[in-house]
């Protein structure tokens, strides 16, 4: 459905996107993951035809995107990161305009508006001004505005920024519905949990370059830390503890001590955690709480780039 080949874009001396290539098949959901300024929005802008790449090519359904009026654009819908809505107009007036941009009129447009408003749960508020909507409702209408012309490919640029958990959940449900209908979704975010929940495959971008492109399992295989052991030490126990000494233990990949909390990255939870705990007991440490969790995408990103996603 989508082929992005060696896209490059620079602004003066700043290279925003540097040779980005990936593919998305019909019905697939691809997460573009990276911190702010990584090049996600520029990549999406080039796919949508908003920004002309310095080099490289975008193909949608096998056809290259050429020029402002290229009919290929009808196959894609953009959900911009900044709300693409006229706040002074009602929800229905906004949708009427957005449909007309794709030459839609009459009963076809009315039907499309009804369907889009129903999908995002705003049919009852169709006649209300957008300025009276909550942030989450605006985000849902922002999504609806991109669905009217029934695009096969949907570009979602951080569509949940600034919304409450309830609205975020509603948007996820909308997107899952669209997946079921066979739409191809390109979803940019810097929220790990969103990417993990929604995406079939993740393309991790940093400094304009793709540093990983795989499904969730594949990405986890890329990092040595399989599990994270968190140890809450009792008062006074952390004082004489050497983090370097913990790191030197067999099976330990990372170790971090913040206050009385020790976080240890392990290759194998079953084999390595008893060894670490035994070592701590031998040095007089007492525990107040123990927890373990599977390494997250955050760990993947940290391992690949050396910095946090939200840096």
């Amino acid at each position: 459905m989508l082929e992005v080949a060696a896209l490059r874009k620079s602004y003066g001396s700043l290279v925003a996107v540097d040779g980005v290539s990936f593919r998305a098949s019909k019905g697939e959901t691809i997460g573009l993951l990276g911190p702010n300024g990584a090049g996600k929005t520029t990549t999406v802008s080039m796919i949508a035809g908003l920004v002309r790449p310095d080099s490289g090519e975008v193909r949608i359904a096998g056809r290259p995107l050429r020029g402002d009026t290229d009919p290929t654009k009808r196959a894609l819908g953009l959900v911009p990161q900044d709300l693409g809505l006229f706040e002074e107009l009602s929800a229905r007036e906004n949708l009427h305009l957005f449909g007309a941009l794709y030459n839609m009129t009459g009963a076809r447009l009315q039907r499309a508006m009804d369907e889009a408003l129903t999908l995002v749960g705003l049919r009852e508020r169709a006649k209300d001004r957008v300025s009276d909507f909550s942030g989450g409702m605006k985000r849902r209408l922002n999504l609806a505005g991109s669905l009217l012309h029934d695009p096969q490919l949907l570009l979602l640029d951080e569509p949940t920024v600034g919304v409450d958990p309830q609205s975020r959940n509603a948007i996820f449900e909308n997107l899952e519905m669209l997946r079921k209908r066979g739409k191809t979704l390109i979803y940019t975010t810097h929220y790990m949990e969103e990417a993990e929940r929604l995406c079939d495959r993740l393309v991790i971008i940093d400094h304009g370059k793709i540093i990983a492109d795989d499904d969730l399992q594949g990405l986890h295989r890329m990092i040595p830390v399989a599990n994270l052991l968190t140890v809450e030490l009792a008062n006074g126990s952390a004082g004489a503890l050497s983090v370097d000494a913990v790191k030197a233990l067999e099976g330990v990949e990372t170790a971090e001590l913040r206050g009385s909390t020790l976080k240890v990255g392990l290759r194998d939870l079953a084999l390595d955690s008893p060894r670490v705990l035994q070592w701590l007991v031998e040095r007089g440490c007492r525990f107040e709480h123990l927890a373990s969790e599977r390494a997250s995408l955050e760990s993947v990103f940290l391992t690949l780039t050396g910095r946090s996603l939200r840096d």
């Binding site: 009026t69 911009p80 693409g84 006229f86 002074e88 957005f98």
Partner: protein, 378 residues
Amino acid sequence: MLTPFIALIRKDLRLFLMDRRAVLMSVVVPIAIASFFGYVFGGGAGNGDSSRIPVMVTDLDGSAYSRGIVSELQADKALEVKTAAADAAAASVRNGKTTAALVIPKKFFEDMVTALLANGKRPEIGIVYDPSHAMEMRMVQGIVAGAAMESAGKHIFRGGNTTQPFNITAQEATAKPGDKYNGYGHSFGGMGIQFLLMIGVDVGIGLILRRQQGVWKRMRAAPLSRGVMLGSRATSSAITSMATWIVLFTFARVVFGVRIEGSFVGFVCVCAAFSLMTASFGLMVAALGKTAEATRGLAVLVTLLLVMLGGAWVPTFVFPRWLQAITVVIPTRWAMDGLDNVVWRGLGFGSVALPIALMMATTLACYAVAVMRFRWED
């Protein structure tokens, strides 16, 4: 392409009508200011008593001849004459309450007779005047000379016909003989020009702001040509301007009796050409401006210069001759001259053909600059 084009225009017009500030700025404010300017420049005050020139006269001669001069001055409709002591009159001029103070010296009549019959030294009527009223001063001098002649006829050459041996009849060069000049015709045209240019600037600033918003990205993601996107904005702006012209001149017609004395088609075409020109001017502002803040100040300055030099505030004939010569290249002057020609001068379409052609050429030039220089990738 027609469906999105019309939809975008409808959206712009709807947003404009919902914006009370914009409507107020483009209709109510120009009506208020045009009414004021029209009243001041000949619509009411200019032709009434309140605009008579205040003059004080000190008659130290006291002869029948000098008293005759004072009477003639007091009878003149252009002057508001009071008698006063010389010091009080001069102080009144310095305070700005009086335009000129005249002193008819002692023995003025005797000295004048001596000068006439025995080639003696001519007596002088001294005038102290407010230098900020230099133009009125010339008028006062002429009236004083005329009054002296009239009084001489009555008091020196009694029975003889030595007063001015002819009469001057003045007729306003309006559309038809007998028609009175209506200053509101000019002021409503001038204020329309000013505020429609402001609307043009607002359109430009709005585009700069919108370019950075999600709606712009959404529109650009659609298969729309740049011509449709900019053209629809220009068209909606021109429609707004045209509607504003209609409201302004309807108000002027109903309230102040302003009539389109010349070619009505010419009037409509001048208004339409100016509306298109302001719309493309707005697009050019959007194309050349980088940020809204930086652009607004510069655009308003350029607009005010265009308005001032185009004669929208005061007619261009009050400008120095060199400035009048320069301002023939100012687009707002083409509009102003065109409107004056068809509104109150009563001239035909031929008198506005060139201004219309020049405005349309400017429209195309501004639009071309806008399309070429517009930054689509913000």
